[in-house]
């Protein structure tokens, strides 16, 4: 989690230089969900994500240099500079794909899980998406299909209450909870605090056991607080609280999953603040090093433009 946080904050620091020319949706605040779930998976399990995919890519084991070089559009990028921030993938660690069009990866996740089932494999698939995606018809079609076909897919809805800047109250029925949609399709589902990595991880372990036991799909809804603007590195403060009130922002800060996890570990005597600081410092060194490497990586040459279209 610290590694992902440091990586994202570093992206945010360099982003204004205009060298990472790729619309970027920051994962800061969402790390507990990505890490809590991916820690319950094997590398051979398949993961899919959406436009906000940095944390999931890294949590699944995607290369840090692959990510930074991709943001800089260089040949060492995970997609050699073709995909950009919203299309990170690394099949070697089971991070199959990310997509910038809402909902597509829910269907793809179901498809991968269905394939595993056809093969009689015990691999599972997980698909990460936001609350906004759950309004798309494709989610409902996919939940229905997954339930009918009893496929081993874990749906993870990282719910930050916003779709771009539009709150849930404008988009979904009052008092409704997203996981109940899944329950309506006879899918085992639960709601877990997305700012608590330990709680998410326990839920994910339950889910993965359920999937591997052949009991069909599983759905986790995990609320969390998005710390930045929808796309871009800015905080609410930098935008003069144009979209959210100062009070909301202050309340959100209390949900910082990295702080919550480290505080708990210190309180439980698992580690000390000094150790946390040391890990953080080590991550900063690693990430800064990667930034240097990414910037030193060459751009693809124009003769590569058509390579790989077929």
């Amino acid at each position: 989690m610290i590694r992902i946080r440091v990586a994202e904050e570093t992206v945010g620091r360099y982003y204004p230089e205009q060298e990472m020319r790729t619309p970027t949706h920051f994962s800061i605040g969402q790390e507990a969900i990505s890490v809590g779930v991916c820690q319950a998976l094997e590398q051979t399990d398949a993961a899919f994500s959406g436009h906000r995919c940095h944390a999931e890519y890294l949590a699944k084991g995607g290369s840090l240099l692959g990510m930074f070089a991709e943001l800089y559009g260089r040949v060492d990028g995970c997609c050699k500079g073709r995909g950009g921030s919203v299309h990170l993938n690394d099949p070697s660690v089971g991070m199959i794909a990310s997509s910038a069009i809402l909902g597509e990866m829910i269907a793809a996740g179901v498809g991968a899980a269905w394939a595993f089932k056809m093969d009689g494999s015990d691999r599972v698939a997980v698909t990460f998406f936001g609350d906004g995606v759950t309004e798309e018809g494709i989610m409902h079609e996919s939940l229905n299909f997954a339930s009918v076909m009893n496929v081993p897919v874990l749906f993870v809805c990282a719910n930050n209450g916003l779709s771009t800047n539009t709150p849930l109250s404008v988009r979904q029925p009052r008092g409704h909870q997203i996981w109940k949609w899944a329950a309506g399709y006879n899918i085992a589902s639960e709601h877990v605090d997305g700012s608590d990595v330990f709680a998410v991880h326990k839920a994910a372990l339950r889910a993965v056991a359920h999937l591997r036991a052949g009991k069909g799909p599983y759905f986790i809804e995990a609320p969390y607080y998005r710390t930045r603007v929808h796309v871009g590195y800015e905080t609410d403060e930098m935008k003069n609280y144009l979209f959210r009130s100062k009070e909301t922002v202050e309340a959100g800060k209390a949900l910082d999953p990295v702080l919550k996890a480290t505080r708990k570990m210190i309180a439980d005597g698992i580690c000390t603040q000094a150790e946390v600081d040391e890990w953080t410092a080590a991550m900063v060194r690693e990430v800064e090093d990667v930034v240097v490497q990414a910037k030193a990586s060459p751009f693809p040459t124009v003769d590569q433009l058509l390579v790989g279209a077929y």
């Binding site: 205009q18 020319r21 790729t22 619309p23 970027t24 991709e70 559009g73 260089r74 990028g77 997609c79 050699k80 500079g81 073709r82 995909g83 950009g84 921030s85 919203v86 299309h87 997509s99 910038a100 069009i101 809402l102 909902g103 906004g132 995606v133 309004e135 798309e136 018809g137 494709i138 779709s163 771009t164 800047n165 539009t166 404008v170 988009r171 979904q172 796309v231 871009g232 144009l242 979209f243 751009f299 693809p300 040459t301 124009v302 590569q304 433009l305 058509l306 790989g308 279209a309």
Partner: protein, 344 residues
Amino acid sequence: MRTLKYNQAISEATVQCMKNDPNVFVAGIGVKDPGGIFGTTEEANELFPDRVFDIPNCENAFAGITIGAAAVGKRPLIVHPRNDFMFLSTDMLINLAAKWKYMYQNGTSVPVVTRAVVGRGWGQGATHSQSTHALFAHFPGLYVATPAFPSDIKGLMVTALTGDVPVVILESRAVYGLEDEVPEEPVAIPFGKGRIIREGTDVTIVGASLMAYEALRAAAILSEQHGISAEVIDPRSIRPLDEEIILKSIAKTRHLVVADTSWATYGFAAEVAAVASEKGFADLQAPVRRVTLPDSPAPVSKPLEDAFHPTPMSIAQACLGVLRQEVQVTSHVRDVQEAFAGPY
């Protein structure tokens, strides 16, 4: 005449049409956001907050929902911040909206008007910078416009929001900042009428959307540095297509280059070339040349992206090619979006 930016012209057309017809409403993801879809829906929302609707993410159903509303008398103006999201709406637009007027033959028409932005540059990438104009224009029953200039988008919107045909209007993100003269009144511009935006005698350049503007810049290069007089035609609407204006122009210049923001294969440029060869073959002194996207999805990396989009230089080079001049275009003009600082 006073001038407006492209986004201001859209806003003005929207507000005037809403004032003139209480059935006009605006809907789409984020249309009530501060800033309102790049400044196009803000004023409408201030003046008519009850007729501007932020909606759930549901492009597929929503196209059908607006078709239903239109069938009973409303005039929906739907806005998509990227036209790539409209792939989810294609079933409704193509199987319903495009068909009903013809199929029912009893006055059932659904004049839904869909505005959508075509992204470009700054790493918008494979799924956020496509243009769907040829796709929608393929199907009879829809009108499709790709206006490049502020006055044209205003006039076409006025026609769309007062007519009885479903319309798709595609707006290039790259022309949003361009400023030009726009009449203050809501003056309708008909679909199917192109515009000669620069007169010339040696070669005709037809350019849709951003390419109309880029063709103008190409024409300037050709005239200043090569002594060539290019005539530039902006079709404004690509369905119906003003074939006459194109054929008349090639009868004069005898050479044709078509520039497009999308791919060549089965595309707008192919259509114009087909019209020229079917109906203007005798006038042509050289094969038509198409300036389009290379055959790959849009890459993100800057050098690849720079090589991906047609430019004034590549259009000018194509013109020299059809005129059988071997010289290379050496001049360089600024990228149309050079000042764009991202991310969206």
